[in-house]
Symmetry: C2
Subunit: 294 residues, 2 copies
Amino acid sequence: MDLKRYLQINQSLVEKTLAALLPGEHEPPQRLNQAIRHSLLGGGKRLRPVLVLACADAVGEIRERLLPFACGMECLHTYSLIHDDLPAMDNDDLRRGRPTCHKQFDEATAILAGDALLTFAFELASRPIQGVAPETVLLAVRQLAQDAGIFGMVGGQMMDLLAENRTVDMKELRGIHRLKTGALIRCACESGARLGGGSDGQIESLKNYGAAIGLAFQITDDLLDVTGDSRVMGKATGKDQINAKSTYPSLMGLDAARRLAEDQIDLALSHLDALPPSADPLRALARYITERTH
Amino acid sequence: MDLKRYLQINQSLVEKTLAALLPGEHEPPQRLNQAIRHSLLGGGKRLRPVLVLACADAVGEIRERLLPFACGMECLHTYSLIHDDLPAMDNDDLRRGRPTCHKQFDEATAILAGDALLTFAFELASRPIQGVAPETVLLAVRQLAQDAGIFGMVGGQMMDLLAENRTVDMKELRGIHRLKTGALIRCACESGARLGGGSDGQIESLKNYGAAIGLAFQITDDLLDVTGDSRVMGKATGKDQINAKSTYPSLMGLDAARRLAEDQIDLALSHLDALPPSADPLRALARYITERTH
């Protein structure tokens, strides 16, 4: 299993599909389409769409047909980055090694580019998928809305804002991250399994896999903010400490945080036990989560 | 046909359903849920959800089952108001007679409340509807995403921003408003007809009806900004002139703008010609559009 190659192929597939599905940058309103392309096509790990495809691979064989849905998840993730970076939120200047959307354009454009991408995510997610029952697609769309909304990503982002400048305990921190970053990663796995034709048991296993790697991913993000190189990461580091933000390393120390992340990876792998060799990319991906440097 | 009573009954139905569908204001994150309720439950004409229900009435008999979808349209409309009111956009302090979301709470909360409502709109729209084929619901969801996004409301809002402080001609102005306010009103009518079980011809007629009243609605909005009473309207007036914004009255004069709105109402009514008496609320609604005072 050559994960590097698997990631390159799929990241490039997602990048190409996104570029083809999006309105061109010369289509009106040009400034909006340029801002969307600036933020969406500037690289990125494409973790969520790759997870959709890899989970479909693990249970079925209709991955290409899931590309629009998978790209919708990337649109959703990117909108959340654009809005999180706004001056009223995290006030970040750099993202994926480039100026953030409001820095490159302006605040109003960035707000609208985020709104447009969030909306476009649902346009992509609600496309009919050949070989998948419409009620299954509808269920996946609704699940996406739930995991992205008040009881998912947006709710988590709000809780994160409310937790600034005070110490939260491990339970609260975990609750925040289960929503803020966990919900969408878990949703990517669950959707890929569901739309890929997985059994109820397989969908449940891959959902649990997603929940575990989601937590490991967040812990690693916190660790990289302390130990990472901002040039490699393409965004500012050391921000959590400056903002007096409670993180896994700040609450439990670097070593214990590393061990917690590793435990989650072991847990994630155990959820794949009953799955065939077509789940090998997911196995490699889980290990990569804690080994990544950006 | 007692329109006042029809509106009251349906507005109250929408209000009650919204209040029941939304997370409670004591559910976490409380501040987010309070902000959502502040903006969404503070009155309003409920034009879009009422149009969904009235168009379903005109072609079928399953209106109650469409309430979640109809409420989703109101969530979508309200999110657009919250984001439009932000300091980086129109910078408004008053909306529906109350402080705007960022004034009552703060900018970050308002951005997230808008994001949450936009997402929740799709959660509501993608719910299964008894008696409606899942592929029909899926089509309505996708149409909603298209009309709310880059080629609809968000695109129109961006064009509107780009048109500030320069004179646009009638053709451009109409193009902006066809997207900014027109797309969602037209979509409400089209969705109500489609989900209500209308024939292709009926769906087309009600879509055209929606396009015509959408334009009349916008012209009336422009007229009310000049001639309306801010106390009755619950928001600031005279803003277009202060912002040197091209509007129908500024481009063609008050009288000609009034005539254009009336012409659109006649056009809208003509699209209802083939529809039965159950379309009478739509006939009365069309006339009300240009007669309203807020």
